[in-house]
């Protein structure tokens, strides 16, 4: 466990020593801020018009805003996750520091866990930026905080699952750019493949829809914690990390 902590600390440092962490933080602050602001504007205008017509505003505004905001975060995540994971192993392979890690008395699993946890922590920092926006809603109204919390849990699980896949892809190459591009492709694919389920109900389409990360998000955004969906994400994490371990092993047999 101490070794996991050691690797985690090293990875966190390298995120925050290089500009990458700050670029990501700035990017997310701007994007989430923009989403939030434009949603807020739209609903303010809508409710004003409704009032002028003398109608009651029919919607629960804060809930509507958070629901839409949380719908946008996974899409932003698709672009950000490759940037977080691409260097994890590719960079170690390129500079040869992997040789230090694999000849030190530390298990592959500890290295992988430390790196993936660091990536997940980084992702949490970014989620936190969106939470600042959401916190504003609490100044003006009293939204129910339980569904918000459940939504964040869902976002975290989905992010962690995609990060595990990104970690795996990073072990396959020495080149960060290739790792990043491949991760983006893989995440996008696993994200959009669920869309076939919307207009097709054959078995293969249903299977694809089940495998997609996007279809498991709904229950979380509705604020209901469905254990089936949580299990799906956890399984995806385990599979991703398992593949990473196998790849790290075979890396030695091959090269």
């Amino acid at each position: 466990m101490r070794n996991v902590w050691l690797i985690w600390r090293k990875e966190m440092r390298s995120y925050f020593v290089s500009p990458i962490a700050y670029i990501l933080l700035l990017m997310c602050a701007l994007i989430f801020g923009f989403f939030f602001w434009s949603l807020l504007q739209a609903y303010l205008q809508f409710s004003m018009e409704a009032q002028m017509r003398g109608e009651m505003f029919p919607m629960n505004m804060p809930e509507e805003i958070t629901r839409r905001l949380f719908g946008n975060i996974p899409v932003t995540g698709l672009f950000i996750i490759p940037l977080i994971t691409m260097r994890l192993f590719a960079e170690e392979k390129r500079t040869g520091t992997i040789e230090l890690l694999t000849t030190s008395p530390i298990r592959d699993g500890e290295v992988i866990l430390g790196k993936w946890l660091a990536a997940t922590t980084m992702y949490c920092c970014l989620l936190f930026l969106s939470a600042i926006n959401v916190a504003f809603l609490f100044f003006y109204s009293h939204p129910d905080w339980k569904p918000i919390l459940v939504s964040y849990l869902g976002l975290l699980l989905q992010g962690a699952a995609l990060l595990a896949i990104g970690t795996f892809i990073s072990t396959l190459t020495k080149n960060q750019i290739i790792a990043g591009a491949a991760t983006f492709g893989a995440c996008l694919l696993i994200f959009v493949c669920g869309w076939v389920g919307e207009y097709n109900s054959e078995t293969w389409a249903r299977v694809l829809a089940y495998l997609s990360v996007s279809t498991h998000m709904e229950s979380f955004t509705r604020g209901t914690l469905d254990s089936k969906d949580a299990i799906y994400y956890v399984t995806l994490i385990v599979v991703g990390l398992f593949l990473t371990a196998r790849s790290m092993e075979s890396l030695r047999w091959r090269s």
């Binding site: 050691l6 040869g96 040789e99 000849t103 008395p105």
Partner: protein, 330 residues
Amino acid sequence: MITVKELTKRYARNTAVDHISFEIQKGQIVGFLGPNGAGKTTTMRMLTCFLPPTAGSAIVAGFDVLEEPMEVKKRIGYLPETPPLYPEMMTGEYLSFVGSLKGLRGAELKQRIDYVSERCAVADVRKKQLGKLSKGYRQRVGLAQAIIHNPDVLILDEPTSGLDPKQINETRDLIKSLAGDHTIILSTHILSEVEQICQQVIIISKGKLVATDTVDNLQGRSRGAELVLVEVAGRNGALDPAAVQARLGKVSGVNRIVLKAKQPAHSTFEVETQKDHFVRGDLARAIVEAGWDLNELRSAAVSLEEIFLELTGTQEAGPKDEVVVRGAGE
């Protein structure tokens, strides 16, 4: 301390290491020699559990590299060909990270960091980013990380490459001073380094073991001979090397004469004599009596370099453009 049996590594297309066996006793410094691509790095990678062998076995510090890699890893220090540095870390921070990886902590870790940064002369760059260090300093930090946990076995892949002459000497002294408690394998292209610091040499070429012996034995074993360098000058400003060779060939005890350097007025010859025949006096007399001047006459130890070239077959024993004359002998 290290027992290697029939160790083999096959890559997709070629065999990098081909059935190598050797044994290294505790406390020895062993030089690992071979031309580029001989398989030195590959062998070291197998000893450090970085690469699994295709066949054969290696026992390092009492543990098999395939069966108990964790125990092996605890007991080795490894400096890879390119020092494994994280460019964004500072030297002190890096040493602390590696030390913790190797299981050091607390006061002991601190004390070891101080000790190795002093020994490897990196104390003055402790607050500098590794990515901004010069090549020599990187090498030193690499060496410092290899010895930080005071390992039983040290495996150093070209430890002195990229260092300045002063630092090379200091590093050699450091390595020598580590022997005794530590068993050290180092690979190098610098043959004088092996002569200076190693007790044993392992020479490999194209993945095959060509020689393993002590440095003394190897030097002695080479042709069982002594080498004498002779520089001869002609009196009238011209000299026929062939005539000199013919004359010197008649001296008893001479095995062969190689023309080393040829100039119009004087030439240098390398005379190989049989062991225990002290022919230097005879050589000098022969030259003077033939009417030439003797500019220089000195004994040259058979260098490891020649043994190396001979054994690895990189070059024919006698360079092509030089005349070899068989002496009368006995």
